[in-house]
């Protein structure tokens, strides 16, 4: 009984985390599913988003303006990865790893700006001292300051904008590049430009998520993005496995990444209550992703075989 109570008590927190990470998962969806590129920049750009937003806010900037700066910083990191990949011919995965690594040093520098120190690994934010857009402190409050409200509105706005964008000529050229680069080039699409643009948009969203997370949890840390790609993938894949058959519309597909992220955090909360240490989470996340990637593969493998057998029997 106690266990259930404490679990339900922590559910709002799981939803908050899930929504904030869900925006990051949408960024991962854009690269992994639409562009067919595994972009590892996100581990760095999430922290960059957090660092820039936190820095802006501690320096007295309007939190919305700080968030915009965070998004721009994320887009720049996406641009770097994109150029490393297309202009320098480095494989996409390695390009992402290089940018991610470089961002680690850069993030330490960003957070030290104005503090007198040369590097800094954490920037604390407090809802008492600064004006923040959201804070986990109000997660169980029934009021307008409840972070779930803002997160839900922002998520809806992100999905709406992306739904519009991927329906435009430019957005379609991105989708074509991911679906079939040969065809895209034959139709006059510069696939390199499309890839760079996709990486820019994706990392902008990831940094937005980082900027929101820093405010939500009350700090930006240089490590906040570690393993982010795997969490993003977990959200995308959980959403797909559970809802892929029902959610056909593009906006719903994006929503399923959000739902995937929420489910992920609910599960994490559950296992933490069951007595696992928070340091075990990385192992758990890796397992979840591995399992959810395996399911569709095995399903496809064995499902196809059965169909063939039946076909043979009918013939």
């Amino acid at each position: 009984m106690d266990f259930l109570l404490s679990f339900f008590n922590s559910l709002p927190g799981a939803f908050g985390q899930g929504l904030a990470w869900g925006i990051m998962a949408i960024g991962v969806y854009i690269t992994y599913r639409i562009l067919d590129v595994a972009d590892l920049t996100v581990d760095g750009s999430l922290a960059t988003g957090g660092a820039v937003a936190a820095l802006g806010i501690t320096m007295g900037l309007n939190p919305w303006a700080a968030l915009v700066l965070a998004v721009i910083a994320g887009m720049l990191s996406g641009l770097v990865t994109g150029l490393l990949h297309t202009a320098c011919g480095i494989p996409a995965i390695l390009s992402g790893i290089l940018t991610q690594l470089a961002l680690y040093s850069i993030n330490l520098r960003i957070m030290a700006i104005g503090s007198g120190a040369s590097t800094k690994a954490t920037l604390a934010l407090s809802v008492d001292k600064q004006s923040l857009l959201l804070s986990s402190r109000y997660i169980r409050e029934v009021s307008l300051r409840n972070p779930l409200l803002l997160l839900a509105v922002l998520t809806a706005a992100v999905i709406a904008v992306l739904y519009w964008f991927f329906g435009t000529e430019l957005g379609c050229s991105l989708r074509a590049t991911g679906a079939n680069p040969n065809m895209a080039r034959a139709q006059g699409i510069n696939t390199n430009t499309a890839k760079v643009l996709g990486l820019v948009v994706s990392n902008g969203l990831v940094a937005l998520s980082g900027g929101l997370l820093a405010q939500y949890q009350g700090s930006a840390t240089v490590d906040m993005g570690r393993g982010a790609i795997v969490i993003g993938l977990a959200a995308v894949i959980i959403g797909e496995v559970l809802l892929g058959k029902v959610f056909i519309n593009f906006a719903l597909k994006l929503l399923s990444a959000i739902i995937g992220a929420i489910i992920y955090y609910v599960v994490i909360t559950l296992v933490l209550r069951l007595g696992l240490e928070s340091t075990d989470l990385k192992l758990l996340t890796a397992l979840v992703v591995a399992i959810f990637l395996t399911i569709p593969y095995w399903k496809g493998k064995y499902f196809t075989k059965t169909v063939r057998k039946e076909g043979a029997r009918n013939a």
Binding site: F165, G167, T168, E169, L170, G171, C172, S173, R175, A176, A179, N180, N182, M183, A184, R185, A186, Q187, G188, I189, N190, T191
Partner: protein
């Protein structure tokens, strides 16, 4: 319309897999020429088309389309002038996108792509009409994902896409080779229809000698990276498979090439 001058292309130079695919090939196509291309495996047919399309840069020589030197233009920029259908039915369309979305992508070939709608209501009506030409019932399935279509349907759709914005040059790379005979005939039929309707300058590779003779106003046969036989006009109209084989033996100076050609 198309002018190739002394094109050379060697793959994997300096390695054990070195292959001189194009060996100084020159070719000029007049406006409205429908040229069928035959030749054995490794004769350089596909390489020739890829050189024109700009899949990779050539080693030397120049390529001009309608008087414009495109030799140094990348593939996506040359696409403004060129419609293409590939041998692999999977290659010409985006499987995860709808039929109408694929057509809308093709309708914007050679144009700047901005933040306007990727497809408009008026276009949908247009596409419905255009798809009727194919006679495959696709006009009723505009929003179906292309991945659900058969190979033949995909090739026919690719053909329509290649000609949606009238190209200065249509490149068909054995586009019926992967299809069953009945479907192949249908796609070939649609090809003939579209090429005639728009009077398209066309290069069509085929592995079928009869098709090569039956279609187009000119036939070229490639051998070792060059044009070995070039027949057009009246001579082409009355050509038989036997004559073609004889011409080829003459040009290549060997008899064993017959088998290679027929098998290829």
């Amino acid at each position: 319309m198309l002018e190739l001058r002394e094109i050379y292309k060697t793959f994997n130079p300096g390695t054990i897999n070195e292959k001189r695919a194009l060996n100084g090939v020159s070719l000029t196509l007049a406006d409205g020429d429908f040229v069928t291309v035959i030749g054995g495996n490794g004769a350089g047919k596909s390489t020739l088309l890829n050189a024109v399309a700009g899949v990779w840069p050539v080693d030397s020589g120049t390529i001009a389309i309608d008087g414009i030197d495109v030799t140094s233009l990348p593939e996506h920029k040359r696409a403004r002038y060129i419609g293409r259908v590939f041998q692999d039915p999977m290659m010409g369309t985006a499987a995860t996108m709808q039929i109408e979305e694929n057509l809308a992508l093709a309708a914007r070939r050679g144009k700047a792509r901005g933040l306007k709608a990727g497809i408009t209501a008026r276009e949908r009506e247009e596409y419905r009409e255009l798809l009727k030409i194919l006679d495959l019932g696709l006009e009723e399935r505009l929003t179906a994902k292309v991945g659900l279509l058969s190979g033949g349907q995909r090739q026919a759709l690719t053909l329509l896409m290649a000609s949606l914005v009238k190209p200065k040059l249509l490149l068909l790379d054995e586009h019926t080779a992967a299809l069953d005979p009945k479907t192949a005939a249908k796609v070939l039929d649609a090809t003939e229809k579209i090429v005639r309707r728009d009077n398209l300058t066309t290069l069509m590779i085929t592995h079928n000698m009869r098709d090569a003779i039956a279609h187009g106003n000119r036939l070229i046969m490639m051998y070792e990276g060059r044009v070995a036989v070039d027949v057009s006009g009246e001579e082409k109209k009355h050509l038989t498979v036997e004559q073609l084989l004889a011409l080829f033996s003459q040009a290549s100076g060997s008899d064993e090439a017959d088998d290679k050609l027929l098998l290829g």
